[in-house]
Amino acid sequence: MKESTDTRYVYTISRIRVIEQKMLSPAMLERMIEAGTPEEALKVLHDAGYGYAGEGYSVGDYERLLSEEQEKVYRLLMETVPDTREFDFLIIKNDYHNLKVCLKAEFSDQAVEDAYLLSPSLVPGKQLMDLLRERNFSGLPAPMAESAAESIEAFTKMQDPQVIDLILDKAHYGHMLMLSDGLGSEFVSKLVNALVDLTNLKMLLRAKLIKKPRGFLESLLIEGGSFDKEFYHKLFELGYDQIASACVDTEYYRLLTESINALKLSGSLAGFEKLCDNYLVDVLKTVKYAIFGIEPLVAYYLAKELEIKNVRIIMVGKINGLAQYAIRERLRETYV
């Protein structure tokens, strides 16, 4: 991979190198798992500097704590980098999520609860709600506005909330590819391509798992990424064992071999999702010691996102009294 020589980010990178020390190590996650109560687990987070200082967080609002922690990372980037638009591709997934929530709530005549709206996002959740209510899409980025209009139209025609997911998911990845292309970073392109590929592979395995016809897969596949649709259709015709061997020349061979083994044992895609996250962590680690360029910042943001995912798994497990081994089984690899 070509190394970046862009020195505009050295300040933020060095700052992150200090903050990174406070990321949750496997030992700290283990302490959370072994905690007797959810309160004790929360205390580990508190000690690691989670959330905003001076705010008391109780077990009940751990979700708020986690979303504020992610916001803190985003805010650090926004405050210190020369061009904040370069990080849009990282957060638009929250925009599309919020869009889905708002549209589905509207079509089922429910009020949108704040807790369901994610931040950070390009368009703040509240503002998005207002814009949608007034059907005023001019305030949204073009691909978002188009897909919102398209999904409203499709829903009124078909009355099926699933079409909203289909349209917006595709729009999200298309938008992300478009934004990340502009950055000219090999690492970011590889990362975004991997996200698209892994989503498509997940669709493929899911379609096979629930024994859906080929046309179903066609409607799910996302354009872009490393392979064309023909490739996935070819895989779709193969048995589980052959899928991995057909991908022997790709980056995902090991991932597929392991996850198909897990899939055959458990009959669920949970193992695949975990292995996807582990794969992404490995990609992120390739720029762990980079000193220039946007790459370490992107890696830190996503590493933090994965860390928060781990914390959520533990907190949900603790609150619901899940056995320790069951929590451990679900944990993703850590960046530090």
Partner: protein, 157 residues
């Protein structure tokens, strides 16, 4: 042009050599120390106790400009007011500026990278300053060699 008479060619060449020997490493050092300074500020924003370590590491790539200054000074010292330098001496002094100018520039930039890496290392572990300095000094050696070569060439003028 009366001023640019043939007699002055030697002197002019020597002056260009002196300017080159300073300007080029000067640019390199400015870039390197500038980037390292931003990196140092990043660490200090989070952990002000590391000031000494990151300051030392930040300053390392400035030496190339200092060496360039020395060579430029020595070359200019060969020019005597009112006496035109002959062409041969002028050419030698011009060439003397090249090793310092070119090697100084490149080594400043790369030493800057090592310094920034060192600063990031100090960010992670408190006691890493000495190691960081030693690693950066490896690059320093090439600037020192260039300084000696330029110095030797000046002696032949």
């Amino acid at each position: 042009m009366e001023f640019f008479s043939e007699q002055l060619v030697g002197t002019v060449l020597a002056v260009i050599g002196a300017a080159f020997a300073f300007i080029i490493p000067g640019i390199g050092s400015s870039k390197a120390v500038g980037a390292a300074g931003q990196s140092a500020a990043g660490v200090l924003s989070e952990d002000p106790t590391k000031f000494v370590s990151v300051m030392v590491l930040e300053a390392l790539p400035s030496t190339q400009a200092i060496y360039g200054f020395v060579i430029a000074f020595l070359i200019v010292g060969k020019i005597v007011v009112g006496e035109a330098l002959d062409f041969g001496s002028g050419l030698i002094l011009f060439l003397a500026g090249l090793p310092m100018g070119i090697v100084g520039y490149v080594s400043a930039l790369w030493q800057g990278r090592v310094s920034i890496s060192g600063i990031n290392m100090v960010a992670k572990q408190g006691g890493g300053m000495i190691q960081g300095v030693i690693l950066a000094l490896m690059v320093e050696m090439f600037a020192i060699l260039a300084l000696i070569v330029s110095f030797q060439i000046i002696g032949k003028a």
